[in-house]
């Protein structure tokens, strides 16, 4: 693994997000960037990966040469494996666990996220028609919701807004936002700038953020 201080972009985001995990946590990692967190687990932190389609203890895709079990897949439908101690259950039970707060942390990506903790990550009207899958249940149900996202979209527009414009996935459920620039925490008062990436200034974050941010006297470092 690279030295943390050398990490950039998505790797930095995954590295920092993984540091919100506690030993023994059940974590649900959205398709794509969130699964990268497993590459950066801190030493001594063992998490149990929940998959919405019915298992706790997913262990990732089969390694080259390892036989593929046609009955084990991840939330993207790709072949996966189970670790020792894993268990399986049906979708109804799975979402009972998810909605009931038995998933400690749900990590997801975002199209938009706002200062009220609203998240939009399932639909862009006129553009996508994929459906929300399990995202609405996960965001509403998990004990803690962490959004991992690049700070701005590909055109350089802020993704962290005063108010989401896209159809919401859930209202007021986001607890933490981790980007390549900073860590934001949602409090009763609003979004607080908790940490900065190495070399990033408060001014840079503010210039790339639409949401109002609370800037405390002391700001930590993401690394």
């Amino acid at each position: 693994m690279a030295q943390p201080t050398e990490l950039k972009g998505r790797d930095l985001i995954a590295y920092r997000t993984a540091r919100f995990f506690n030993d023994g946590d059940v974590v649900n990692l959205g398709i794509g960037m969130p699964t990268k967190c497993l590459d950066y687990l801190p030493e001594g932190i063992d998490v149990w990966v929940d998959t919405e389609n019915g298992a706790i203890g997913l262990a990732g895709p089969p390694k080259a040469g390892e036989p593929v079990d046609k009955d084990v897949c991840d939330a993207a439908g790709n072949p996966s494996t189970l670790r020792v101690g894993a268990c399986c259950f049906d979708s109804f039970t799975s979402f009972g666990y998810i909605r009931g707060g038995h998933v400690d942390i749900s990590v997801l990506g975002a199209y938009e996220v706002d200062q009220e903790g609203n998240l939009a990550n399932w639909m862009v009207p006129g553009k996508t028609a994929a459906g929300m899958g399990g995202a609405m249940d996960l965001v509403a149900g998990a004990k803690k919701v962490i959004v991992m996202t690049e700070h701005c979209d590909k055109q350089g527009n802020p993704k962290i807004l005063k108010k989401c414009k896209l159809p919401l996935t859930a209202a007021g459920e986001v607890d933490i936002i981790v980007t390549e620039l900073c860590v934001l925490e949602r409090t009763e008062e609003g979004l607080v700038l908790k940490e900065l990436a190495p070399g990033v200034t408060v001014e840079e974050v503010l210039s790339k953020t639409d949401a109002e941010l609370i800037i405390p006297e002391e700001i930590g470092s993401m690394i």
Partner: protein, 222 residues
């Protein structure tokens, strides 16, 4: 003597007709009753109301029904894994209602368990809430989502005995267990058909009492 419910695929299709509603389990390609779906294709039934989680991938499972335009309307949580479904929905050739995945499970279970619906926090404050009753319980808001039942459920089992007791395997269980409770007619395809008594009472996940017919599934490990 327990009834022997094992029949041919053709006989199992007797209750499948144009325009009926069908619960079809499966998560992308896992746990999908693909043999039974091929039976529907072969019989030529169309205008079907499908309730499923997604539509497999292009050319597989529920994707076959999409490809052959056999679906009048589909209720599901996600179609992103099948490019052909997305295309048809965007073009307006296929009518879809999206339901959050957990809500889909709960609604079908409510349908199979005689409940009047469910009260869920999921979807409050989102477009999913539009037009639905909001019920306040102890100061918190919940959507009232109605039960779902269907004429027929198609089930994919790992093992089934001849009277229809069913065991699912790993994440292939997914929607099968609940979907088997909420239809007037339940058809099981099983990878392995065993004699009554070979399954332990505790490993059975769907009682034979809920199952009307058992069919040998095509054996494929791809």
């Amino acid at each position: 003597m327990p009834k022997d419910k094992v029949v041919s695929l053709e006989v199992a299709m007797e209750k499948i007709h144009d325009g009926i509603s069908i619960l079809i389990p499966g998560f992308v390609n896992v746990g999908v009753p693909e043999t039974l779906i091929k039976g529907i294709i072969a019989k030529g039934c169309k205008d079907l109301e499908i309730i499923s989680n997604n539509t497999s991938v292009k050319g597989r499972g529920i994707g076959l029904l999409v490809h052959e335009n056999r679906i009048k309307h589909i209720t599901c949580s996600h179609i992103g894994s099948n490019t052909e479904t997305v295309e048809k929905v965007v073009k307006g050739e296929l009518s879809v209602t999206f339901v959050p995945q957990g809500t889909l499970c709960e609604r079908v279970r409510a349908g199979g368990a005689g409940l009047g619906g469910i009260l869920t926090p999921v979807g409050i404050g989102t477009p999913i809430a539009e037009g639905k009753p909001v019920i306040e319980v102890d100061g918190k808001q919940y959507l009232l989502e109605k039960p779902i039942r269907a004429d027929v459920a198609l089930i994919h089992a790992w093992k089934a005995d001849r009277m229809g007791n069913v065991v699912y395997r790993r994440t292939a269980r997914n929607f099968n267990q609940v979907f088997a409770t909420a239809a007037d007619w339940v058809i099981v395809e099983a990878e392995h058909i065993v004699e009554v008594g070979e399954l332990d009472p505790d490993e059975i996940m769907t009682p034979g009492a809920l199952v009307d017919a058992v069919v040998q599934a095509e054996r494929s490990d791809d």
